[in-house]
């Protein structure tokens, strides 16, 4: 599966133009700053799934905007980019 990412701004571009910041923690960034347990999980724990996972990619060699997408870590199939 070609690792081509359909950037919402720039259209389909090869993944080498992007930085990946890894899997998106459940519930995304931020969250309740008072809940230290949840924050701990968000910062330190990774699920490392074999399958579909939400990720954040930064188009550093293009529009320099972030997008969120779902990537299958086994096949690299990508969908639900926003």
């Amino acid at each position: 599966m070609a690792l081509i990412i359909a950037c919402p701004q720039c259209g389909p571009r090869p993944y080498t133009e992007f930085w990946c910041s890894g899997e998106l923690p459940e519930g995304g960034h931020g969250g309740d700053p008072g809940d230290l347990e949840a924050d701990y999980a968000r910062v330190w724990l990774r699920r490392n799934v074999a399958g579909e996972q939400r990720e954040r990619w930064f188009h550093h060699a293009g529009c320099r905007r972030w997008c969120s997408l779902t990537r299958n870590t086994i096949t690299n199939a990508i969908h639900d980019i926003d």
């Binding site: 599966m1 070609a2 690792l3 081509i4 090869p14 993944y15 080498t16 930085w19 910041s21 995304g28 960034h29 931020g30 700053p33 008072g34 809940d35 230290l36 924050d39 701990y40 968000r42 910062v43 330190w44 954040r56 930064f58 550093h60 320099r64 905007r65 972030w66 086994i74 096949t75 690299n76």
Partner: protein, 882 residues
């Protein structure tokens, strides 16, 4: 006459020659000595599939000379054998083979302890395929990226047809071939057809043909690295078509590795293309219908055929004139340094035939290394031609290439396995014989993957091209479990690749220059790397530069700082939540030192945040973090849904720091705007025009003197720099570089993030709690700090003084008593104070953090130091606030 240098001998070359052809024509028959037993080896496959013709060419070891064009002036030598490959005294190892079974060093050299370390040296000298030329200057291959729709690997008839068909459908195509296209073909209709297709490819605007370039592997992406003659091509196609063809099947029998044994296509090329004479008498073994065609191709040779061995079914189709032995089987090739005869097991029993050439046409094996690699991962590839179905007619191969190019699904047929090997060399690269496999099997290594790991069969330079099928049939004969005789995992590199190709592009790193780069060079600056920037380390005497700052006035190019303008409705809320310090209470045109914490609560950058009145904020970050900071800022802005505009001005703005007690005097000469302490107080900001250049001036304190950072448009930078130097001449101005800066800031006790911090440095570890306002409701890293609050830091950054005229080196170890208690991160002799000053981490001991330490830095000195308060210099900050 053109010639190459072969081991000191001039050897003439003819147009179109490979190195192997030229060397062979000169009378050389032994091309290499084998990996373990130093057996004599000569040209065998002729198509770059086996290791036998490997030589050292212009310092590159293990070059497959049969597919490498001869170029006048090349220096060629055989890599192995002593005193020479032709006469190698270690050839006697073969007679000692009973004492050198597979894995012998595991069995015999493990005790007494120490034996292995002695033996290893000898084994390493004796075994192997030549030396890595440590002192040989590497080439500088560059790295090129391609993003075609289709990447075709292999420029044979199927590959070219696939490329043309894909291009006809509108696709952009990259096609590569490891030799010149058609170079592996003897003259004939196939060669003509390939030449015709090649000409079409060359004029096609959609197809890029890369010749003399090997596809190293197929990685996720898909990514196909192709090592070319002067560049590593990183091809990122949407689709990969593998058309690597098939190699001729390796024959395994006693003496099968002697020079004079040829695979039929190699023989056909030697005769038809290179016009070489193989010998005076040949035995030809044919096993399959495809082999019959190979024989046809090699019949141009004027070698009298002593016997043709064929199965009964093919016998009627053998062309007349040659004595045919129906059902005959090769048992042994006789001879020591080359073939002297053959032993044949035929209808009449064992029979000796005198001959000097044995040609094997046993069928074809797909070169499927790359396909198996891709199949092991998530990459889907198409296949075309012989790799999909070996031994097809060339018209069929062309049709299958066209079909693959048009996007039709691939059809790959499993290749039949050869007969199980009984005797002789299964693996030519690693010298593994059938007897070795047999022994390993009886020792319990009963499966292809186990045999591979134990005996290294299939692990040599040819990556199993010769032996993989034989290994599988060896296991299949002994075990009914199909999994055990399955194909072994194929991994990159599929073909040998040079280390310099792997490192391609390393000598062309991205290098950013400030607008003043040329000025620094003109002034004799020594430049150093700072992230991807080149910065001036010093212009001459560092102490002179230091004195200019402390006593007079100096300028420094600080354009590499990360510079951002952040505005918009939520700018204040955004920065308040991003920084651990307070932002909302910043007075207009005031700035503040700010740390940046990651979500774990660790310091990863620092800089200033300043208020531009109603226009938003101006933020600076460290040089090394300047680029990545943009993604960090945008990530949070988007996550929080803040309406902010983030403008990265790092490369559009330059910055020059004007520092020293006379800094204000210098500026006053070049501006009509007020620069007095009331207009721009310490930590204040102001828009002023200096030498007609519009500047944002920031009063900063990093070097500990009165200083103004002038941020200005990049295009005006040289003008401003020159004006400052000219106007400052009578004040004794001198620019300072990074080394002076490191000393100046150390006297003030300021940290440099990255040098005085680690990946897990919380503000508490660095003694920077004052820069963190835990009473703010939320900021990035606050929950992390709350968690860390219950864990006292196990080490902290402390400032030290070292009395005396010397300072330890950066990185010196710190001792208290006999115990190692920490290390210095920065250390310099302070000219202003007359003693050493340093920052360093100390570990917690049962008596708390040590305060008196002994620094050891590898120079033999032992220096006593003790914890001291910072700043070391100008404690009250009088000079800074002047």
């Amino acid at each position: 006459m053109t010639s190459i240098d072969f081991e000191g001998r001039e050897i003439p070359i003819e147009p179109g020659d490979t190195i192997a052809a030229a060397v062979y024509r000169s009378g050389v028959r032994i091309f290499s000595r084998s990996f373990k037993y130093h057996r004599a080896r000569g040209v065998y496959c002729g198509t770059g599939d086996c290791p036998n013709c490997s030589m050292t060419v212009d310092g590159d070891p293990a070059v497959r000379t049969c597919v490498t064009p001869a170029v006048a002036g090349q220096k060629v030598e055989r890599s192995t054998g002593w005193p020479s490959a032709g006469f190698d005294v270690f050839g006697t190892l073969w007679w000692l083979r009973a004492f050198l079974p597979v894995g012998f060093y595991y069995k015999s050299l493990h005790q007494p302890a120490g034996l292995w370390s002695v033996a290893e040296g000898y084994i390493r000298k004796l075994a192997g395929l030549g030396d890595v030329p440590i002192g040989h200057p590497p080439g500088n291959p560059e790295r090129r990226y391609h993003h075609p729709d289709v990447c075709v690997i292999g420029g044979g008839i199927a590959g070219l047809a696939a490329a043309l068909a894909a291009a006809a459908g509108g696709a952009q195509v990259v096609v590569c071939d490891e030799g010149g296209v058609g170079a592996k073909l003897p003259p004939g209709p196939l060669a003509s057809r390939v030449a015709a297709l090649r000409d079409l490819v060359r004029v096609s605007p959609r197809v890029l043909l890369i010749e003399h370039a090997t596809a190293v592997g197929i990685y996720e992406g898909p990514l196909v690295p192709i090592a070319g003659p002067d560049a590593l091509h990183l091809v990122l196609p949407k689709k990969v078509i593998v058309a690597t063809g098939a190699s001729e099947r390796h024959g395994v029998f006693k003496g099968n590795d002697l020079p004079g044994v040829w695979l039929a296509r190699g023989a056909a090329l030697a005769v038809g293309r290179d016009r070489l004479t193989l010998g005076r008498s040949a035995v030809v073994a044919i096993d399959t219908e495809a082999g019959l065609e190979s024989l046809e191709a090699s019949r141009g040779a004027d070698v009298p055929v002593a016997a043709v061995l064929v199965p009964a079914a093919l016998a009627p189709r053998v062309p007349g004139g040659a004595p045919v032995i129906v059902g005959g089987r090769l048992v042994e090739a006789l001879g020591r340094r080359r073939v002297r005869g053959a032993v044949i097991d035929g209808p009449a029993g064992h029979q000796r035939i005198a001959c000097d050439t044995i040609v094997l046409a046993l069928g074809f094996v797909p070169r499927d290394n790359l396909v198996r690699q891709a199949n092991a991962g998530p990459v889907e590839v198409s296949v075309a031609g012989d790799v999909a179905k070996p031994g097809e007619s060339f018209a069929a191969a062309e049709a299958s290439g066209r079909s693959a190019g048009e996007g039709n699904p691939p059809a790959m047929e499993p290749a039949p396995l050869p007969a199980a090997p009984r005797n002789g060399f299964v693996c030519l690269c690693e010298d593994v014989t059938a007897a070795d496999l047999d022994l390993a099997w009886h020792e319990g290594y009963q499966g292809t993957e186990l045999l591979k790991r134990y005996s290294t069969v299939t692990m040599g330079p040819c990556q199993g091209a010769m032996c993989h099928g034989h290994l599988r049939s060896f296991v299949a004969e002994r075990s009914p479990v199909p999994m055990l005789s399955g194909a072994t995992t194929s991994r990159p590199p599929a073909r040998p690749v040079r280390l310099e190709d792997v490192a391609a592009g390393a000598r062309y790193p991205l290098e950013w220059h400030t607008a003043l780069h040329d000025r620094h060079l003109e002034m004799g600056a020594v430049m150093e790397w700072a992230g991807i920037w080149k910065r001036a380390e010093r212009y001459g005497d560092v102490l002179e530069e230091y004195r200019a700052v402390r006593e007079r006035v100096s300028i420094m190019d600080v354009s590499t700082l990360g510079k951002y303008q952040i505005a918009g409705r939520d700018a204040t809320a955004f920065l308040e939540r991003l920084y651990p310090c307070r932002v909302a209470d910043l007075k207009p045109w005031r700035s503040r030192y700010a740390l940046l914490l990651n979500e774990a609560g660790y310091v990863f950058d620092d800089g200033l945040v300043g208020s531009l009145g109603g226009e938003g904020y101006y933020c600076t970050f460290t040089s090394s973090g300047a680029d990545a900071m943009e993604s960090w800022l945008r990530d949070w802005a988007e996550s929080w849904g803040h309406s902010v505009r983030i403008v990265n001005q790092t490369s559009t703005l330059s910055a020059i720091n004007v520092a020293g007690p006379r800094a204000r005097d210098l500026l006053a000469k070049l501006t009509r705007d007020p620069v007095n302490a009331r207009s721009i107080p310490y930590s204040g900001m102001s828009r002023i025009t200096v030498a007609d250049v519009p500047c944002l001036a920031l009063r900063v304190g990093f070097v500990g003197e009165l200083s103004f950072e002038l941020h200005h448009p990049r295009l005006e930078s040289v003008r401003l720099w020159d004006a400052l130097l000219t106007a400052g001449a009578e004040l004794g101005i001198k620019p300072h570089g990074l080394e002076a800066l490191r000393l100046l800031r150390l006297e003030k006790g300021h940290i440099i993030v990255g040098q005085d911090t680690d990946f897990d440095s919380s503000p508490a570890k660095l003694g920077l709690e004052w820069a963190v306002k835990m009473d703010k409701p939320d900021f990035v890293g606050r929950p992390g700090l709350l968690r860390l609050a219950s864990i006292p830091p196990n080490r902290v950054l402390r400032a030290f003084t070292f009395p005396g005229k010397e300072a330890p080196l950066d990185g010196a170890q710190l001792l208290a008593g006999d115990e190692r208690v920490g290390f210095l991160t920065s250390s310099r002799f302070s000219p202003a104070l007359g003693h050493g000053v340093a920052l360093g981490f100390v570990y917690r001991t049962p008596n708390g953090f040590p305060t008196n330490v002994l620094a050891v830095d590898g120079t033999g000195r032992l220096l006593m130091g003790s914890v001291a308060p910072t700043p070391f210099y100008d404690r009250e900050g009088v000079r800074l606030r002047a």
